[in-house]
Amino acid sequence: MANKSVLGLFIDENEAGDALSSLRKAKYQDNEFEVMTGTPYPHGTFGEAHPKLRLHRFPIFGAVIGFTVALIITVGTQLAYPLVTGGKPVLSIPPMLVIFYEMTLLFSVIVTVFGALFESRLPKIFMGAYDERIMTEGYIGVVVTVPIDRISKAEEILKKSGAESTKRGWEEERILKKSGAKSTKRG
């Protein structure tokens, strides 16, 4: 059965935290619900699971790649066409260090940025249930993504916890539109 999502919008941090506790009590797993905010909050504000990141590893991978690229640019190219200029050695270490330094750092940055996107789980093409007010007005969103038979119960929990409004994910709207039914958008 395909997963569907429902979003509850909260103004108060405590109510959003209560919603997460109620979802856990109702046997919803941590990987089935998520908090969304327009600004960073301290970890655990809503009792959410602590995300584990491995971002610190990425610069090291990048550095290894950059060092290899520098090796190709300096040693590789100079040996491919060994032209002596100014009586200097073809492989002259001090100037090569400059290229090694820059390439190592450049690829560390590039791989770190890709790492940041990977760890953020971006790009995300299908955003599920979402509301613009989370970013613009400081609402706290709690989104539950579960099989469709459990979605109504999740919506009920969100409402009971004090959600100002709830909203179903776009995927359900599309299904309902195809079947000619009325949209369930409530947000």
């Binding site: 600004t39 960073p40 971002l55 300096t74 100037p95 090569m96 750092l105 790009p123 970013m135």
Partner: protein, 464 residues
């Protein structure tokens, strides 16, 4: 930081996305005026491309003039942008919040302006790709490309370092910009702009994982960009310092001297930009006198270290008592027009602004800070000019080899082009993306509270 005004998330969103949502009244006329200056500069460049470098003022032996001066100047400006941002991020300085983005964007456009000077300076810009190690297979039509770039030359280190810095800056700015692009995506109602912002935001939703990455990645990237920043101006200084033939250039102090000079001019550039933004976008709720005060104190320290480096550079040059070096220094300080420029350089680069910044009332006044920091950058442009041109004028025993230099109209036009380009770039950027990061400001508001100590209310910051 005693001043504090509590604002809601909606207010911050409205204030900081307003320049993105609708153009200010002055926007098109301002951009149009800058566009006209750029058009004049580009016309001069087309003329230079058609006629050759003879239309510039460079001639034997002064082959480096306004373009290279301008290149070093903009590289210098680009430095403090990212330095200010990176150091403030690494130290988690609370007052960084409204400043970092503008500083990073200044870096970005300054670097592009700097690189454009290299295009203006070279005789055959269509062969600029020769500095890249592209295998001949990619450009088979080019018979000369059997040879690789000579990695022993500073002119290969230079594009590698500046290219690394530019690419790193673009990635740094973009990574930190994602949450604000998501905000603008949600703020814009519909239309092509919504689609473009949606693509650029990559589906950012503000989950705890995404915010944790947003907290960690900029610090990691800052730690990586800072060594690049140090290397870039060192390498630019080595363009001069590794040359043994030119008096005034062959100095071991050039790398740290150039770096501290870059910080001096760049931090001043950031202050000029902050004051400009404050007036243009009425951001007085976000950019406060406290910010100018903090950065003004930093500038006093930086300027003093820079002046000490300048002093040492002169001492090291004069101590061996070599005739050509003494002749060069004599020319810089006692022969017009160089001597006049030297006086202006010292007054504007150090004595006037630093004396002014010693007063709290000046440091806390955006208008004073705007004008004093502009003075600094007039001085710092002249500093680079006085290093490059008199050095190449070759006041050696062989007087037939003496030369001089005056910039042509084409060069003046292209120097003006770079200034217009940087200002226009920042203004257009501010029309597309928030120049003060709303999410950062909102986070700062959340952690600020007023606490009462005795009869006094003090603004305090809570930290995790």
């Amino acid at each position: 930081m005693q001043e504090h005004q509590q604002l809601s998330d909606s207010e911050i969103t409205e204030d900081l996305t307003a320049p993105v949502i609708r153009s200010a009244r002055w926007f098109w006329s301002f951009v149009g005026s800058l566009g006209f200056i750029m058009l004049v500069g580009i016309s001069g460049y087309i003329y230079e491309l058609y006629s050759g470098l003879g239309v510039t003022g460079v001639q034997r032996p002064v082959y480096w003039g306004a373009y290279i001066t301008n290149f070093v100047f903009w590289i210098g400006i680009s430095h403090a942008g990212i330095m200010v941002s990176a150091i403030l991020r690494l130290t988690q300085a609370e007052w960084k919040r409204p400043i970092t983005r503008a500083a990073e964007v200044l870096t970005l456009f300054s670097l592009i302006a700097a690189l454009s000077n290299i295009l203006f300076h070279v005789g055959r810009p269509w062969r600029i790709y020769w500095i890249t190690p592209l295998p001949p297979i990619f450009i088979g039509f080019d018979f000369a490309r059997g040879i690789w770039p000579n990695v022993r030359s500073p002119f290969v280190w230079d594009p590698v370092a500046v290219g690394t810095y530019l690419l790193s800056t673009i990635l740094f700015v973009y990574t930190c910009l994602i949450p604000d692009i998501a905000l603008v995506r949600d703020k814009v109602k519909s239309g092509p702009a919504k689609i473009v912002y949606s693509i650029l935001a990559l589906g950012f939703r503000g989950t705890p994982r995404q915010w944790k990455v947003q907290a960690t990645a900029p610090i990691l990237l800052s730690a990586l960009v800072l060594p690049i920043f140090v290397s870039v101006h060192s390498i630019v200084s080595w363009d001069f310092a590794v040359s043994i033939a030119v008096e005034g250039w062959h100095s071991t102090i050039f790398a740290p001297y150039f770096i501290i000079g870059a910080i001096h001019s760049g931090v001043s550039g950031v202050v000029t930009l902050m004051a400009g933004l404050l007036w243009l976008y009425k951001l007085d709720k976000y950019i406060k006198p406290d910010h100018f005060d903090a950065i003004g104190r930093l500038l006093v320290v930086v300027a003093t270290i820079w002046f000490f480096a300048l002093f040492l550079e002169w001492i090291y040059a004069l101590y061996p008592l070599e005739d050509p070096e003494i002749a060069l220094r004599n020319m810089q300080v006692s022969q017009p027009p160089w001597s006049y420029l030297f006086i202006v350089f010292l007054l504007t680069g150090f004595f006037i602004p630093v004396s002014a910044w010693l007063f709290k009332s000046v440091r806390r006044n955006p208008m004073w800070m705007f004008f004093t920091t502009i003075l600094v950058n007039i001085g710092m442009w002249l500093e680079r000019f006085l290093i490059i041109v008199p050095g190449l004028s070759r006041r050696t025993e062989l007087s037939f080899n003496w030369g001089s230099y005056a910039p042509s109209l084409v060069e003046i036009g292209l120097v003006a082009f770079t200034f217009a380009f940087v200002i226009c770039g920042i203004i257009v950027f501010a029309r597309i993306f928030p120049l003060i990061p709303p999410f950062d400001i909102k986070e700062g508001m959340r952690f600020r509270h007023v606490i009462k100590i005795g009869k006094k209310n003090i603004s305090a910051v809570v930290r995790e």
